[in-house]
Symmetry: C2
Subunit: 312 residues, 2 copies
Amino acid sequence: MVTLKEIELAHDRIRSFIHRTPILTNKSLNELSGASLYFKCENFQKGGAFKIRGATNTVEQLTQAEIEKGVVTTSSGNHGAALSMAVTRRGGGTKVVMPNNTPKIKINNVERNGGEVVWCEPEQSSRESVLADLVEQTGAIVVHPYNDERIVAGQGTCAKELMEDEPNLDMIICPVSGGGLLSGTLLAAKGMKPEIMVYGAEPSEADDAYRSLQKGEIVANETIETICDGLRAQIGTIPFPIIQKYVDGIITVTETEIIEAMKMVWERMKIIAEPSSVITLGALLKSKDKFSGKKVGLILSGGNVDLNQLPW
Amino acid sequence: MVTLKEIELAHDRIRSFIHRTPILTNKSLNELSGASLYFKCENFQKGGAFKIRGATNTVEQLTQAEIEKGVVTTSSGNHGAALSMAVTRRGGGTKVVMPNNTPKIKINNVERNGGEVVWCEPEQSSRESVLADLVEQTGAIVVHPYNDERIVAGQGTCAKELMEDEPNLDMIICPVSGGGLLSGTLLAAKGMKPEIMVYGAEPSEADDAYRSLQKGEIVANETIETICDGLRAQIGTIPFPIIQKYVDGIITVTETEIIEAMKMVWERMKIIAEPSSVITLGALLKSKDKFSGKKVGLILSGGNVDLNQLPW
């Protein structure tokens, strides 16, 4: 299992390639929630999302020979762009298997960073079979978006920064999809402060992490009909046991609650955050009692939204 | 005429009531423009716009007896909300004459800050006659949104902060409507660094400042058919001579150019800025040669956008 030490090493490895993103506060949202909120703004990260952390940590550990074979992945978009950025910098090529319903901004981000898009159907099975075919054809190295210890360690650097800048936090809320960010957050936050409580926020319409925890084993998503295009993946076998061991709960959030939270963040904070990240505020607002009077860190994981397809 | 000394005094007077807003940079927009851009983010200011600066500077100088009479103004929205905030804090009441086509977010901001909205037609003549009636009926004190030296001095504190934080700027671009912000910016920036160049950015569809400068006297807007709801006012008699004396030029920007600039700011910077403020980027991008290789400050004056009525 990844340790805090590996997150610290990852941070040293990637520090010069990423932004140290700001932590924003907002008086009006504090009043509304009855808590003190600290938003870790990965929407301002390079590539518009936290994904550059894990991707860079992994790509920096590849050999030159591996880079020359080329790198492939599946991605709802943000990981693909981040991986392309990290691989392009090392002089390699990247192929990204992406669902054909991906927002255009995320496609553009992959291409702008030197990646090549390979289309698949939105279902997990299609993602995997198209990826397997690519690997067979090209011999390229797979960098999985979350089911990889190097990715988990890289994503953990986000919560490490948050804890360094706001050591008095009582709780953190983090989105959960494949589990890379949540497992990294758990290891960093609880490694640095064992008594902190960490919650996952997951769409009710793609609640595999919530149900997997209840059942004690990984179960599949029953639907992925959520506007959170970054939260439709299946929880991974590497993140799952970390989440099982450490998480204090998963809060599921409806589509309406996600959209309301998104409007609040946009209108009151004047920042662009994607549905997959404002879900943390949605989780807090639907469970106000749990967080009342506390200092709560919310990880805004990204800001890549198709402005022509807003959900209101 | 207002001096730098009065802007300094204004800053001391209002400092504890406002945010010192951040200055953001963006690599991708630097590459696109060929210049180094420094965005002064008044969209993160209290009330979502720079207007709190001038309003607070004015209201803090009113006597208690004046406050008790009540305060009135006309406003496209941001000044009304800012004035309401400043007057409410001193225990007084505010009436704001607003055009009946004002975005809902700006109406809500007035009401949330304790102000009362009084409707008028969008034309300048209607704004003025409704205001005059109100003053006659109530004896309230008028705090004009821009044609007031206290307002000009207050708005100048924005450029003062920008120059303090980025003393190496070569140029500044600032939106122009009634002229309060631009005249304050000119006095602060050129007072602190005489060789700096300062440009106004104005919608082609509400270009009274541009034409007034050409003619050497104030002329009326021929149209106000612009999405920049904060830039439809008529240039004021107090700001005009300051602008005449100091400005290095007014750049007029089409509606299409404004919308393109707005999408760029939203997509690449992940911040919400209103059309009336992204016009500064539109002005820069249409006159790239003028700014090429320079360090340019762009004043993003506000971020109050009706998310249900986006221009794309």
